[in-house]
Every structure is written in C-alpha cells, then in structure tokens.
C-alpha cells in the first residue's frame, strides 16, 4: 500500500492586524483633496483632467496637487510615504486620490 502523508501549511499567519479604514466623507464640496502620484503611467496627463472634473462637480473643492508631495515611488519612497500622515494633516487634507498603479 502506498504511503500517505499529513502535511503542514507552507504559508504563515499575518503579523499585520486588520486596521480600521478612515470614514468616508458626505461630500467633496468645500473639501480639500490631495493628489498623490508615483510619477509613472501618465498621471501628469490624468490628474489635471481629474482636477477639472472634480471642480466642475463640487463647489468649493480645493485641490492640493501632486508636486507638493513629490514622487512617491523609487529611492525616497519609504521616507516620503512615511511623512505623508503628517504632511496631509499639516495641509488640512480631507481626502486623497493616489495613482498610478499599472
């Protein structure tokens, strides 16, 4: 009779605990929205379009554009992303749109 085996799981548990997501907003009107970009995949063409679209739809919306935060990918990524919570709070940002993942 052929041998049988009882085998172990080759993965491991997640040390990262689930984290609570931020509450959504009731509207973007009058809110400050930051754009964050990894300087890849044509964000420089799409974020201006998005700014126009959001401005048309939501009165009083304010855009904090991606150059304020710099390139969030590459050699300085960890430092810049690590600084983001403080940067966003300091600038009174209410919501974030980040891209481009392709």
């Amino acid at each position: 009779m052929e041998a049988t085996y009882e085998v172990m799981w080759p993965r491991s548990s997640r040390g990262i605990q689930p984290r609570r997501r931020a509450d959504r907003l009731d509207t973007l009107a009058g809110r400050r929205v930051a754009f964050l970009w990894d300087y890849l995949f044509r964000g420089d063409e799409l974020f201006p379009v998005l700014a126009d679209q959001l401005t048309d739809r939501f009165e009083g919306i304010e855009i904090v554009d991606y150059p304020v935060f710099g390139n969030l990918h590459g050699a300085d990524e960890k430092e810049r992303v690590g600084r983001l919570p403080e940067d966003l709070r300091t600038r009174g940002v209410d919501a974030v749109v980040s891209g481009m993942g392709c």
Binding site: P10, R14, L46, L50, A95
Partner: protein, 470 residues
C-alpha cells in the same frame, strides 16, 4: 497603494487609481498592510497603450465616478479573511501524487514535485538548529505574513534543502525583511528575478559549486536553495499570479551563483561580499533582482586591452530601460553585475590589473549615446516624468558631469554614475572565455548582503537563575 494606506492610517479617506490589470495586486497589497478592501478606481485597459484622447475619454467616462464613490458615502465593508489555517494544522492528507496535485491546485508549489512537508520532517529539519520555530525575523511587506523559522523550514523541506542550508535560508530571509532590499516589489510587471550570490570559506563544505553551468540546475545546494527562494516568495510573500505577482514573463528560479574562491584567492581580487564590506572569512549571501542577462560569448584576446571593449559592450547591451534606476524609478541605483569566467579574470590578473582597474576601464568603455539613453528612460518608456534631458539632470546636480560633456545628442555617456557601480564577480567554467552581464532592477530588489551565521541558536536553551545562596 502604500500612499493611500498611509493616508488611511492618518484617518483620511483615500481612493487609488489602478489599471485593470493591477486590481488583484492592489487588493493583495492592501490586505498585506492590514487594509483589506480599500476603494479602487480602475482605468479601462492599460493607459500606456492608449492615445491621449482615448485615455481621457475612458477616464472621464468610467474612472472619475469610481473616484468620487470611493471617497464619499458609506464606509466599505470589512471583508477580512479570517479562515486561514494555523501553522500546525494538517492542510492535506494523501499520497505523494495527491499532495503534489493539491499543492499545485492551491498555488503552494512551483509546479515541480515537492517533498511533502510533514510535521515530522519539518521538526527533523530544525532539530539541531537550536532555533525557536515560532521566532519571527520580520513581516513580509507584501503579504503581511510573518517570516517565521517554521515557515522557512516547511518550504525548505518542500524544496529539498538540507538542514545545513538553514543558516543560508535565514540570511536570505533577513535580506527580504530588510527595507533596503524592497522585497515588496518582487512581482513588478517587468518580471525581474532574484540572483543569489554566495561567498565564503564554507561554500564548498555546504555543497555549493562555482564551476561549469553555475546558473543551470544540477548541483543540489545551488539548485535547492534557489528553488526555496521561489517557493518562499510564493507562499509567504504572496508572489503568485492571483496575488502580488504581475510579472509579464518572468524567469525560472535561478540557482545560487557561488563565486570561485580558488580563483579569487589566487588573483587577489575581492569577492562580491568583500565589495559590500564583508571579510574574506565571512560566509555571506548577497542578493539583487535582475531584469536581463547577456552572455558575452567567446571573448578573444590575451591582454586586458584586447578583451575590455567586448566585455564593456556586453554591459552596455544589457542596459536599456533599466537605466531609469539611475534617475527615474531609482536614484543612482543602477548597479549591473559582470560575471567573468576564471580564465578571463586571470587574463586581467596576470597583466597586473586589480579589480578597480577593471572597473575603471569598463566604466570608460561601457557607453551609449546620450540620445539612446534619453530614449530608454523617457521617450520610449515614459518612465521619467517630464522626459528630462541628460544635460538638464546634470545642470540640476542629479547626474555627474560625465553625462553632459557636450550638447551633441550622439555623444557617448556612461551607463552608471561611477566605476564602483559596475560589480564584477568570478564564477563558471574555469577553462572557458565567456562572461555574463546582468542588469539589476534598482530599488525593486536592491543589492543587499547578509552574513550567514552557522552558530546554533540558543533560543531553546533554558536559563536557570543563579542561586543567591550559592
């Protein structure tokens, strides 16, 4: 995703714009960082393959609404999966064929037959190591899974590694846990794969072979340790095609590249480990992810001056979009590797050339036109925002003056910022006049070296308090 997660951590709602081929990886990345189910706004198709008009029409017609919906309204439901097994759960029972079929079906295998990781085998693998199986060496930044000694051993059993290889596997895990390496990028679309370089006095005793066919399967130690890395990337870091692995093509797992220490000692050149600051007496693994490789075949010549141009040409040929790691995706992080056969290394050494002499001359000869360089990092790839010219980058202090010695677009410019950025190793058939040039993937698996500690761990040694009364 990491920027969005950083914002969410600060209590600021976010939405991430991704191409539709990136949705699975985005969700897996968020899950790995504890933020399952973050809102995504998906573009139609891949933006790089669309005209500006088509891309913008798609964006307005589909993606903008998703962005708005992701930021306002009800908070998304928590869909965290809490149904995973525990480490000591039996996840499958069956014959060796059944186990292999099950592991392939669940994505836990690389497709080659595995040795079934029974509890007895895993415990036996660790028995003499002294390691606490539940000790963690960090958390995988991609999947959020723990780097445990137990998980290292389970995958080592599967790959067929010997227990004496455990210290090598631990050192490799330490590299993947090191933020400087950037293991979270191991599934990027261009599909680089890791190259493990092994140096040290115990390489032979551990069974690693630096000789003929060093990058081909065949030697147990080189092959099984290379295979373990692929399995560990799949199973613990989550680099499977339904999670983090977005490689368009990819490569097979690379066997370990052991350096030829007999040759290095004879010619007095530093090993790669020594080039990273370790001592000759240290056992060390050094790892980086490689985009491409070029064989520089049948190098003809009996003097350094005769063979340098061809070797440098090989380095230039392997360097293309990867140059964006000098400026763009990376910052001065293009550091290709030239592996010389011992015969070629001796050609230099017998003429009195030290390693830095070779690096200086390779730097001088490994050049491309400025026009080609700018096309690789900009015009052809769109990998540097704003399509900067090299002269502008030199003027801004980003690149050294060698990149803008004239305004001629056909001037020759180097492929790295300085000679030391050209790593040189020695391995392969000692009697052949061939070399191999690898291009590295910059911060997406940056050169990182760790010492291999063969000392048995004392994790499980009981320490009794000394009696104060003697």
């Amino acid at each position: 995703m990491r920027a969005s997660i950083s914002a969410e951590s600060a209590g600021i709602p976010s939405v991430s714009i991704v191409c539709d081929g990136f949705v699975g990886q985005a969700r897996a990345t968020a899950r790995g960082l504890g933020h399952d189910g973050l809102p995504l706004a998906v573009t139609v198709g891949h933006v790089d393959a669309q005209s500006a008009e088509e891309m913008i029409a798609n964006f307005i017609g589909s993606t903008v609404d998703q962005i708005v919906e992701g930021l306002i309204g009800d908070s998304p439901a928590d869909d965290t999966d809490n149904t995973e097994p525990a480490a000591l759960d039996i996840v499958a029972t069956g014959t060796i064929d059944e186990i292999n079929e099950r592991f392939c079906a669940l994505g836990w295998s690389d497709g080659n037959p595995i040795i079934p990781p029974t509890r007895e085998r895993v415990e036996r693998y660790l028995a003499d190591s002294g390691h606490d199986p539940w000790k963690t060496l960090g958390v995988a930044p991609s999947s959020g899974r723990d780097f445990t000694i137990w998980s290292i051993a389970v995958n080592a059993v599967m790959a067929g590694c010997r227990p004496e290889h455990l210290p090598v596997l631990i050192a490799l895990t330490e590299i993947m846990a090191d933020p400087a390496y950037g293991s979270e990028h191991s599934g990027n679309t261009t599909g680089a794969d890791a190259l493990i370089v092994l140096d040290g006095p115990n390489a032979d005793a551990l069974g690693f072979d630096p000789g003929p066919g060093v990058q081909r399967e065949g030697t147990h130690a080189n092959t099984s340790v290379g295979r373990w890395l692929r399995l560990y990337l799949r199973n613990v870091l989550g680099f499977t095609t339904d999670e983090h692995d977005k490689a368009t093509f990819g490569n097979p797992a690379r066997p370990v590249l052991a350096e030829d220490h007999t040759c290095l000692r004879e010619i007095g050149w530093p090993s790669i480990a020594e080039q990273f600051g370790f001592r000759w007496s240290d056992d060390v693994v050094t790892m980086a992810r490689m985009n491409s490789g070029v064989v520089i075949g049948s190098v003809f010549g009996s003097t350094p001056e005769q063979i340098i141009p061809y070797l440098a040409n090989g380095l230039a040929r392997v360097s293309a979009w990867d140059l964006t790691h000098i400026h763009g995706i990376g910052t001065d992080q293009y550091q290709p590797l030239l592996v010389l056969s011992p015969l070629l290394a001796r050609t230099f050494a017998s003429a009195g050339w030290e390693l830095d002499d070779v690096q200086d001359e390779l730097f001088r000869h490994a050049t491309i036109t400025a026009r080609t360089f700018e096309r690789f990092i900009g015009d052809w790839t769109n990998l540097t925002a704003g399509l900067p010219r090299l002269a502008d980058l030199v003027a801004a202090g980003v690149l050294p003056p060698a990149f803008a010695e004239s305004a001629d677009p056909d001037r020759m410019v180097p492929i790295v910022t300085r000679p030391e950025r050209l790593l040189v190793g020695v391995a392969g058939d000692p009697n052949r006049a061939n070399a191999y040039a690898f291009s590295n993937d910059g911060p997406h698996g940056w050169w990182t070296a760790k010492r291999i500690d063969h000392t048995p761990a004392s994790d499980l040694v009981c320490s009794l308090p000394r009696s104060s009364s003697g």
